[in-house]
């Protein structure tokens, strides 16, 4: 049996879960999804509708409203002993935070960010910012895995798995306490999972330019907005815009890189995109080596022209 830790916002299930379910289904055995949250019936229902899910375990408690790694790990560990051979989570901020705790408590290795399932005990994962891929076999009795969403298709909807309430693990006394959140609000699609992503880099020169040039284009394309590390470090946009080895990994149908030179760490986060467009004034920028369509020139002229060439939605 395989357990997938769901990514959700209590009201609904997030697409990262669908990708993780696809990976889990390749491991062999029934796939269960754990929804740990508060007032999370909506998310549990969403998980139940994912095709290929045999059962949803729903743990609901106030201390799971803004779940910490400590409390989520405790909840996973509370259900883990009922015969699960694999504990799986999407390699999101949450999955990365929680699963190594689970693995350490079980005294097993974790295999991070798998991009392929070779067999029930053998997986492929990127190392060195995706410049190499290692095939590793785990000899542990329980396999703890995080899944890179871009490497697996999203599982379809239309399922109708039963939802079972499970006992809630008590809040961990020696744990972190969440005291505040500053979440970026946006009407745009989420960066991870968007069909089109437009990312800006230091070539834009300022946060004002970033907004002035990229937002109208994103509006026309219904695209998500991203950024290079340099743009985030320079304060143009918040941290959650970062695409790259240590930021978000995306693989949209169309990725438009604007004023981004293409450091290895950035390429690691987007080079699996289906079509890559690069706009940069430096013809020697490494981004052009991986771009399908490179346009060398002044982005301050190109962007308004590109936006104008596309129909308003």
């Amino acid at each position: 049996m395989i357990l997938v830790l769901a990514e959700h916002d209590h009201a609904s299930i997030k697409s990262a879960t669908h990708h993780a379910v696809t990976a889990a289904a390749k491991l062999g055995g029934p796939v269960h999804v754990l929804v740990a949250g508060h007032d999370a019936a909506g998310a549990a229902k969403g998980a139940a509708s994912i095709a290929g899910v045999a059962k949803v375990l729903h743990a609901d408690a106030p201390h799971l409203a803004s779940p910490t790694a400590e409390n989520l790990a405790a909840q996973v560990l509370a259900v883990a002993p009922s015969g699960y051979t694999h504990l799986v989570a999407p390699a999101t901020g949450q999955g990365k935070n929680v699963m190594p705790r689970v693995a350490a408590k079980l005294d097993v290795a974790q295999v991070s960010e798998i991009t392929a399932v070779v067999s029930a005990d053998t997986f492929v994962r990127p190392i060195y910012a995706g410049n190499a891929f290692a095939t590793v076999r785990s000899g542990d009795r329980v396999k703890v895995l995080t899944v890179r969403g871009t490497a697996f298709d999203a599982a379809a909807g239309g399922g109708a798995a039963p939802v079972e309430a499970v006992p809630v693990a008590p809040a961990v006394t020696r744990g972190a306490v969440v005291t505040g959140q500053e979440l970026t609000k946006s009407e745009r699609p989420e960066l991870v999972g968007a069909r089109i992503v437009i990312s800006g880099g230091r070539g834009l020169g300022s946060g004002e330019n970033y907004r002035k040039l990229l937002e109208p284009l994103a509006d026309r394309l219904n695209a998500a907005l991203g950024a290079s590390r340099a743009a985030v470090d320079a304060g143009y946009v918040p941290n959650d815009y970062q695409v790259g080895q240590t930021g978000k990994i995306v693989a949209p149908e169309l990725y438009i890189a604007v004023g981004i030179s293409g450091a290895i760490q950035h390429l690691a986060g987007m080079k699996d995109s289906k079509v890559i467009v690069a706009i940069n004034k430096d013809a020697e920028a490494p981004i052009f080596q991986i771009a399908d369509y490179g346009l060398v020139g002044d982005l301050f002229e190109i962007l308004p022209a590109l936006t104008a060439a596309l129909p308003a939605r």
Partner: protein
Amino acid sequence: MKILVPIKRVVDFNVKVRVKPDGSGVDTANVKMSMNPFDEIAVEEAVRLKERGVATEVVAVSCGVAACQETLRTALAIGADRAILVQADGELEPLAVAKLVAAVAKKEAPQLVILGKQAIDDDANQVGQMVAALLDWPQATFASKVEVAGGKATVKREVDGGLETVELELPAVITTDLRLNEPRYATLPNIMKAKKKPLETLDPAGLGVDVSPRLSTLKVAEPPARKGGGKVADVAELVAKLRNEAKVLP
């Protein structure tokens, strides 16, 4: 208050690694090695906490081959007070490293363990969380701001939707993200001074830790090459190609 900073020796971030022709791994012979950049941020943060009078001692620890001494000397040059090498010759997996660090933490009894969120070689992103689990300490991963006062650490964390603030009762584990600080360059006088700072060597057996691997690497391969390099002359050609050739625009 004592801070323990685990650091890793990795292939320098500027080096483009090559997969060995026999697929057994990546070529690390005659390649420049450096401190994992995230760990450098961790050392810097610990040293700043000491400079602010919050911490009294910063102890760097590294697990691996004898050459990790160089990496530890770098930490000492940034401002760590002393160093511990847990010497092991084989490859150490994250769980093994976490057990070694937890064992050193039990011996040293620090109030904080600060380390990088991931190493840029195996990109595992596991050790900090595992150390916290093994010690049953609270954790704050992906820190972009750290304040320590009154037996508590307040940490701003980079999460998928933005930022989250957590409070940790000490002792605790913090892993660093990119924007926590910008590490200083070690000055020549400090590099000289670092050579005289104490460096103790331990071994896994002495710490009672079994470091045998749980994973076996069957193969390491290059990623599939991407055929790029295409150019368009202007916006009109770009839009036409995206519509008619790539078919990603209506």
